[in-house]
């Protein structure tokens, strides 16, 4: 007899003891009990145990458990604020996402991290290119401008020691309305070198222009 069969027999004997078996099962057990000594021993053990337990004295309550009005005052459940509930949900979701993220990262063995780093660099390049494009688009007057600086340091006659040729070329890149206000190259070359005067004249014009901010940024670069 295997364990399962023994358990089944034990349950049947126990139920037989309590009169909880169907008539057919009851007859089967009675027949087996008459024939099998071992089964009879198990049954007797169960019967004596039940008898012992039923003979235990019934305890009386050591005191009265009657209730007083103070005892049954309804304990109002503490209401949690909606903020607390939503915060708890948010924290749970965040924690779950973090675990999932770390899990995925762990499973992929860091490849995701590497990829994300590359993506970040590409994204940074893209942003830089976009910035440049945006700058160019926002300042159409400078689209074809010479990349050389607007102010030539060292130009002869204007201080800074630059060449007169460069000054002429750069003068062409300055917007017309600004150019009108500026002293001529000849005047500059002949007159005294007054860089401060030129800046004072030039800066307000640039700032008043349609793309003054971008021009300042170009200057700073």
């Amino acid at each position: 007899m295997n364990i399962s069969q023994r358990v089944t027999v034990l349950e049947q004997l126990s139920a037989f003891l309590d009169g909880q078996l169907k008539e057919t099962e009851k007859q089967q057990i009675e027949k087996r009990l008459a024939q099998e000594t071992k089964l009879k021993e198990i049954y007797e053990g169960l019967r004596k145990t039940k008898l012992l337990l039923s003979r235990l004295p019934r305890l009386r309550a050591p005191r009265s458990f009657t209730l007083t009005p103070e005892m049954v005052t309804v304990r109002a459940p503490r209401r949690k604020s909606p903020f607390y509930t939503s915060l708890r949900w948010a924290t749970s979701i965040a924690a779950t996402l973090l675990v999932v993220l770390f899990g995925v990262e762990y499973i992929l063995g860091g490849s995701l991290y590497g990829r994300s780093m590359v993506s970040s660099e590409q994204a940074a390049d893209g942003i830089a290119q976009q910035d440049e494009t945006t700058l160019a688009l926002e300042a159409p007057e400078y689209k074809n401008a010479d990349p050389e600086p607007l102010i030539i340091w060292g130009a002869p006659g204007i201080g800074g020691g630059g060449a007169a040729k460069n000054l002429e070329e750069n003068a062409a890149t300055i917007p017309e309305e600004t150019e009108e206000e500026l002293p001529s190259a000849e005047g500059l070359s002949d007159g005294p070198t007054d860089f401060g005067f030129m800046i004072e004249r030039l800066i307000p014009k640039i700032l008043d222009g349609p793309s003054g901010e971008n021009t300042i940024r170009r200057l700073l670069e």
Partner: protein
């Protein structure tokens, strides 16, 4: 006044009506609580909690056996109290021996019908049986207490323990076998058990 009328009055807020129910069932509730928990103080605490809980949850009573409904609350209170005591162990105020047994049990002192020898034998027997009951897992213990000590049928035990009938049958059989095996350790220490059985069998 019948039980259903008392329940209805209690539902209407009549605490005195509920207290009549308490008086009617408190011995049974305490007996079950003690057999499940094995400690007088713990059983008392669990009982009090159970009656308070029963009053507060009385609107959840859906008819049927009030005794079964109440005992379900009592056994749940016992489990709660057992878990609470496991988390925060307490020291008994009753004098105890080195083995943790109560030196004097007021219940046994009350029984002035028995001789001192008989009282001692009863105490030893009671302790041995309770020791074996307490050694059972909770799920087995509850079924054993309800059926073999309280004398309930399988249906009532199933309802109280909220367990299917087949499971009740299975747990009860195993619990009986375990208690039987456990009591083997006390066979020589408590020979009176056999004598009582022999007397019982002779009748």
């Amino acid at each position: 006044m019948n039980e259903q009328a008392l329940i209805q009055d209690a539902l209407d807020g009549n605490l005195d009506a509920f207290n009549i129910l308490v008086v009617n069932y408190q011995d049974m509730a305490y007996n079950v609580a003690y057999r499940v928990m094995g400690e007088y103080g713990a059983a008392s605490d669990a009982c009090q909690e159970a009656f308070i809980s029963a009053y507060q949850k009385l609107h959840q009573y859906r008819g049927g056996s009030f005794k079964s409904w109440l005992l379900r609350i009592v056994t749940n209170a016992c489990y709660d109290e057992l878990r609470r005591r496991q988390r925060k162990p307490v020291t008994a105020l009753t004098p105890e021996t080195d083995d943790g047994d109560a030196v004097e049990d007021p219940y046994w002192i009350e029984d002035d019908q028995a001789s001192p020898e008989e009282q001692t034998e009863q105490v030893e027997l009671e302790k041995a049986i309770q020791h074996c009951i307490s050694a059972l897992e909770e799920k087995f213990r509850t079924i054993l207490v309800l059926v073999d000590i309280e004398g309930m049928d399988y249906d009532a035990a199933s309802e109280i323990a909220q367990t299917p009938l087949g499971t009740v049958k299975s747990r009860l059989a195993r619990a009986r076998l375990r208690v039987q095996n456990c009591l083997q350790d006390f066979w020589e220490l408590l020979p009176d058990i056999f004598r009582l059985h022999d007397e019982e069998e002779e009748r």
